[in-house]
């Protein structure tokens, strides 16, 4: 079915495409779920719509409300579109060290941006948003880091789609940010396809982003349940960029940089399977397209130049 009553109704149902050039063998295959094929171009459309609809159903969101959200970009963009269509005012708290395109898209959809300091990354954005929420009790903070509707959207949609399209799945590799995708898909797969390994690729940023004032400012998303994961890998910008470029060059897929990090972890897992002589169907997430990262230089110049350009940036 390719006809829907409106844009929001077309959410999800994204294609799963094989990666014949990057898959190491006929027995160890990689599959990419193209989440850029969503209404605003990222996987965040799923949790954004789910969180808004849940808040409406609970009576927390009513016409004329103001929505507040800490976001490094994609969730804000998704929410901005949904809020625009539903008539809510949206204020995003976003770290200042994010790409220009994210800012442009948010403004295009009519969202207001409050920038948080680069040091501390999303931790700082969350802290600033929590303070704003406390000072403005009539605003509605959906709070993607702790909102069960985030993980639930992936349990309800992303996970089932993956299993339906790849019933022989052996591994799922997703990006770890709010942890919503991994928690939701992970929980679903553990229940319906036990034995599938759930692997997290965690972007590793430059020192500036980890520049907390003290360790007590550390933050673990409330959604996170480590028992859902089988492994968690830290991936730096050089590896993420290298894989993002390989995805373009060898499979023709133009994805964002977090996808490169995910692919890196997936290829590492694939190598282990080959060495162990085990068959594998590894499903990985393409979180978004590369469009909003073009200005970062990620897709041109040398790899080292591109990595240097990402230093200090919240690149995922």
């Amino acid at each position: 079915m390719a006809r829907f009553d409106s844009l929001l109704a077309s959410l999800g149902g994204t294609p799963l495409v094989g990666l014949p050039a990057l898959s190491p063998s006929a027995d160890v295959r990689l599959w990419a779920k193209l989440e850029d094929r969503n209404p605003t171009g990222s996987i965040k459309d799923r949790p954004a719509v789910a969180m808004v609809e849940a808040a409406e159903a609970e009576g927390r969101l009513r016409p004329g409300c103001t929505v507040l959200e800490p976001t490094s970009g994609n969730t804000g963009i998704s929410l901005a579109m949904v809020c625009k269509l539903k008539g809510y005012r949206l204020i995003c708290v976003m770290p200042e060290n994010t790409s220009l395109e994210r800012r442009q898209l948010l403004e295009m959809y009519g969202a207001e941006i409050r920038f948080s300091a680069a040091a501390g990354g999303s931790n700082e954005a969350v802290a600033v948003a929590k303070k704003l929420a406390a000072d403005n009790p009539d605003w509605v903070m959906l709070y993607q880091y702790g909102n069960p509707a985030n993980a639930q959207s992936h349990y309800d949609t992303t996970g089932p789609e993956i299993l339906a399209d790849c019933p022989t799945i052996t591994h799922f590799v997703g990006g770890l940010g709010t942890t919503g995708t991994l928690m939701g898909v992970g929980r679903f797969l553990r229940e319906h396809a036990p034995g599938v390994k759930i692997i997290a690729a965690e972007p590793r940023y430059g020192e500036l982003v980890y520049g907390l004032r003290n360790l007590d400012e550390g933050f673990v998303p409330e959604l996170y349940d480590a028992s859902i994961l089988d492994g968690r890998f830290s991936v730096g910008p050089l590896d993420a960029l290298r894989r993002t470029r390989e995805l373009v060059e060898r499979e023709g897929i133009f994805a964002g940089i977090s996808t490169g990090a995910i692919l890196h972890a997936a290829l590492g897992q694939a190598r282990k399977c080959v060495q162990a002589g085990e068959r594998a169907d590894i499903v990985l997430v393409v979180c978004d397209g590369g469009w909003k990262y073009l200005s970062t230089g990620a897709y041109g110049g040398t790899l080292e130049e591109a990595a240097a350009g990402l230093e200090g940036q919240l690149w995922a």
């Binding site: 976001t71 931790n123 972007p203 982003v209 907390l212 007590d216 933050f219």
Partner: protein, 91 residues
């Protein structure tokens, strides 16, 4: 046996500003004791009284989160890289 321990900015006051230091140990727990012998006080920032990892500290062995290996009992080998980072969320 030489292990490279990468120290986050927030703990470099213990290592005189050094971002990477060398240490040794059969396990991560041993490594932390070894580091503490030269950089007094650093161990207490990494593990609690019960010896387990502090909540807002993440440790990676060759880029893999040790909480999915053996935690503080994770065995180490010569040439391993242990990266210590504060818990910072993405998204």
């Amino acid at each position: 046996m030489a292990i490279e321990a990468r120290i986050p900015t927030i703990l470099r006051n213990y290592t005189d500003g050094e971002k990477a230091v060398e240490g040794s140990g059969q396990t991560l727990a041993d490594l932390f004791v070894d580091l503490d012998s030269r950089y007094a006080g650093i161990r207490a920032r990494l593990v609690g009284d019960d010896g387990s990892l502090q909540r807002f500290v993440n440790v990676y062995l060759n880029d893999e989160d040790v909480r999915f290996l053996g935690g503080v009992e994770t065995p180490l080998s010569d040439g391993d890289v242990v990266t210590i980072l504060p818990a910072v969320a993405g998204g």
